[in-house]
């Protein structure tokens, strides 16, 4: 399909360009009256085992010391869906369609009940992964990329995406030292081979290639995650501090985003 090649509009933001109004990635949520959203949505992306949660914990304490109220959010943590997702993953009964839609439902639940209220209240929201992880996984699993992107049309474009960039060679020892290789993160569902180590290497290599493409397309800020925890944390803080300084100098938009394709009066 020719259509599948075309990215959904409003793709990446230009790093370094201050923009205080939140934008929907696609069609958004037409029934919501948003009003001003003075908070900040910062996404930490990166593959499994790269050290996202460690870094996010450190960022949180740092930001709170700096005086920012922080709210964390991450995949499969919505009260509505976390049990369903965990059970379905344990039972290996998901395919790329149900997998993506369940994650989208989990995301939408957190967006409406957690992220938007926090942004409204002026929090810094740190998201442990965002729709880009689903984009990367789905492409590796062979789904139509245009479909995946449409599904996440309800999302905001984040203010800042920091990508923990790693290679398989550095990833393997970290995963083995941590919780080990699991079924899904090793791509065993793709039946790339019966050996979990080989499958992990192949799957993660494909995934990292895909993240790399997405990083260019959506303007992620790359942080070299092959280094030690402190070096990575230092770079993350530098990027976030720069973003927050820019954001302080740009006045927040008075209105939330409008909804493309609907008259302005309906989108509040």
């Amino acid at each position: 399909m020719a259509r599948a090649k075309r990215a959904t509009p409003s793709a990446g933001r230009v790093p370094g360009h201050p923009r205080r109004g939140k934008r929907w990635y696609g069609h958004g949520l037409p029934y919501l009256k948003l009003g001003p959203l003075p908070g900040h949505l910062i996404v930490i992306e990166g593959t499994d085992g790269v050290g996202r949660s460690t870094q996010i914990e450190l960022l949180r304490s740092w930001l709170e010391v700096e005086g920012y109220a922080v709210s964390n959010t991450g995949w499969a943590r919505s009260p509505l869906l976390s049990d369903t997702i965990n059970e379905a993953m344990a039972g290996h009964e998901l395919n790329v369609l149900t997998f993506s839609l369940l994650y989208a439902a989990d995301f939408a639940d957190r967006l409406e009940h957690q992220i938007i209220p926090a942004l409204r209240a002026g929090f810094v929201v740190i998201a442990d992964r965002y729709m880009y992880t689903v984009f990367a996984r789905n492409t590796v699993m062979g789904a139509d990329p245009a479909w995946t992107r449409q599904v996440f049309g309800v999302a905001f474009v984040p203010d800042l995406v920091l990508y923990l960039d790693v290679d398989v060679e550095h990833l393997v020892p970290r995963v083995l030292a941590g919780k080990g290789m699991d079924y899904w993160e090793s791509g065993m569902h793709l039946a790339l081979g019966s050996d979990i180590f080989d499958s992990f290497e192949r799957y993660q290599r494909r995934l990292l290639d895909e993240y790399d493409r997405l990083a260019d397309e959506f303007g992620f800020l790359r942080v070299d995650a092959r280094r030690g925890i402190d070096d990575i944390q230092g770079d993350l803080r530098t990027h976030i501090a720069e973003y927050l300084a820019r954001a302080r100098s740009a006045p927040p938009a008075a209105q939330g985003p409008g909804v493309p394709g609907l008259p302005a009066s309906e989108s509040g």
Partner: protein, 239 residues
């Protein structure tokens, strides 16, 4: 974004089986008609598989919890139904279609296009969720005025269901009033969908047997040239 109509359910599916869907608001009598159609098809020896909207065990718990605690928003409501559909498509719809059997669907993606849009999600977004759905070979839309469906529902059971009445939208505090307001929106959208997707409209105010005659005639026409697996039955094997 350019307002370009997406190609959803435009091309006929390539599988040897046949897919028949029924649509209509609650109380339109569509499920009754589908059961009678199933009896007829089975009696003629056809191999029939039946699937119902919102019946997959995958999301049952989330759906129940969401409804009970009123956690569902129009978007999560819509996405959970899409998960349900995708799961049933994988396990209940595609295998029999590929095996050449007849699949009967009590509600199909048009239910989402109607109800979810009436709840406020973007019409293009919800169509985009279902681009993977095969186009039914026959979609029957049972059109009924609000008051008729309301009478049928209230006659059969004491209470209207919360979401069926659109109570989650806060349109009215009285369930019957809310039902009227919400289902009127759904009806108006269905009317647009019949043209967009070539649904066959059946006047669902008529008596059950005459409606079923029309249903069977349409099914027979659609099945012309269909050569699926069929069991020989005593006496009624001829078409």
């Amino acid at each position: 974004m350019t307002r370009r109509r997406q190609r959803v359910l435009v091309d006929p599916h390539p599988y040897p089986g046949r897919l028949i869907a029924v649509e209509g608001i609650d109380g339109s009598g569509k499920s009754t008609q589908l059961v009678l159609l199933e009896r007829w098809l089975t009696a003629r020896g056809y191999r029939v598989h039946f699937t119902e909207w919102n019946s997959s065990p995958l999301v049952r718990r989330s759906m129940r919890r969401g409804k009970k605690k009123d956690l569902l928003t129009p978007t999560t409501f819509s996405l959970l139904h899409a998960v349900d559909f995708a799961d049933r498509l994988t396990y209940k719809i595609m295998p029999p279609l590929k095996a050449g059997m007849i699949v009967l669907a009590d509600r199909y993606v048009f239910t989402a296009f109607g109800r979810d849009v009436a709840r406020g999600v973007h019409p293009e977004w919800v169509r985009g969720l279902y681009t993977f759905a095969p186009r039914p070979d026959l979609t029957l839309y049972f059109r009924v005025p609000i008051e008729v469906s309301l009478d049928r529902l209230l006659g059969g059971r004491a209470k209207l269901k919360y979401h069926e009445a659109g109570m989650d939208l806060g349109l009215a505090s009285n369930p019957a009033d809310s039902f009227r307001l919400f289902q009127s929106r759904v009806l108006a959208i269905y009317d647009e969908l019949t043209a967009e997707f070539g649904m066959q409209v059946i006047d669902a105010t008529g008596d059950i047997m005459s409606q079923q005659k029309i249903v069977r005639r349409m099914a027979r026409t659609m099945l012309h040239g269909y050569d699926g697996p069929r069991e020989r039955r005593n006496g009624d094997g001829a078409s």
